[in-house]
Amino acid sequence: MKREDISDEEAIEHFRKRFMRIPEEERKRLKVIVGKKVYSFDEILRHMKERSEIGKIEIEIEKEYMRWLSRRKR
């Protein structure tokens, strides 16, 4: 799968499916630290949809994860 092959929407949908499976308590409790930015795991989906600075990074992370999964399947 090439870098351009995954759209932002696909990445968000891929994340959303897995995100819903995580217990709500855990989602609220855990924090993500990316450089100077600190945010709750629960906020990621909202940030992704808003395409904020955090959202853009998270989309990139999800795309990288999807690429890694597809490489592994092959």
Binding site: R29, L30, K31, F41, Y65
Partner: protein, 289 residues
């Protein structure tokens, strides 16, 4: 014994707080292998202190955490420590080893330190370093896979592995945790693993310096004498700025001379007679005084 400098800024910033706590392991590891450790924790993680420690004659390895960007690695309260184009950074990099736990410094700064600064090896990340924490459980099990994987570089290098081996071990450790961690951690572990970078000489280890090819070529049967030359270079010449300057010129000149010696008959003998022997006389005279 050789010196390891560990930079651990901590002023309440979450990333540095966690990073500093986990870097305690580098100190333990270095002490286990009998290194002298300069622990620059909290307010001590300033440019002045880092430079002071790195200028000491026995300094060989730097491992640090701090915020950063493509060109700058920072310390306590984001004070710039090393940066792209800085003369002092360049001077300190020469023949030394570095491991940076910092966002994006691997994009330009680390590469510059290895290529222009002539550091032997520089490990860094070329994107934001991401990890998960549970704030109620410090330093928690969620952060462990991230820091444990990163610290693999320090463990391997301090144990004597080459930079290539340390880099591979670090990526393998990330893979180990990727297979065993929940989805929450896995996506960030993959991100960090993909963006882990190494610049420098893969086959060199923490004890490696630039070899003198003339003496290695001419004195390959005289191991004791060769060791004396190396000791003289490290303990006398490289300790002075003029000596370091002369050594860089000597390194440049030595390449064509070695080519000449290997391609012509008796070339090796000539090199020994006109370069190695006069130097040997100087060394023995310096020793006597």
């Amino acid at each position: 014994m050789a010196r390891v400098v560990v930079q651990r800024p901590d002023w309440g910033d979450p990333a540095c707080r966690w990073g500093s706590k986990w870097l305690e392991e580098v100190i333990r590891e270095a002490k286990t292998h009998s290194f002298t450790v300069s622990d620059l924790y909290g307010n001590k993680a300033s440019r002045r202190n880092v430079m002071k420690e790195c200028r000491k004659g026995d300094f060989i390895y730097f491992s640090g955490v701090g915020h950063g960007n493509a060109t700058t690695f920072t310390g306590q309260r984001e004070e710039p420590i090393f940066w792209f184009g800085d003369q002092e950074t360049k001077e300190i990099s020469r023949n030394k080893h570095f491991n940076f736990l910092s966002c994006r410094f691997g994009k330009l700064g680390a590469k510059w330190m290895a290529r222009r600064g002539r550091a032997v090896g520089v490990h860094a990340y070329d994107a934001d370093f991401a990890f998960i924490v549970d704030e109620g459980d410090f330093p928690d099990s969620y952060a462990r896979p991230f820091f444990d994987s990163h610290l693999m570089v320090d463990r391997e290098l301090l144990a004597g592995s080459t930079h290539g081996e340390a880099h591979r071990a670090c990526r393998r450790r990330y893979l180990y945790w990727i297979m065993r961690s929940p989805y929450i951690c896995r996506r960030y572990l993959i991100w960090d693993m993909i963006h882990k970078r190494f610049y420098g000489r893969r086959w060199a280890n923490i004890w490696s310096k630039r070899a003198c090819i003339i003496t290695t070529l001419t004195l390959k049967d005289e191991k004791e004498r060769l060791r004396d030359f190396e000791r003289f270079r490290d303990d006398v010449i490289l300790r002075r700025s003029l000596g370091r300057y002369l050594m860089s010129i000597y390194h440049l000149l030595s390449i064509p001379l070695v080519i000449f010696a290997t391609e012509t008959e008796g070339g090796r003998r000539l090199l020994k007679k006109f370069i190695v022997k006069p130097f040997w006389k100087i060394i023995t005279k310096v020793r006597k005084t």
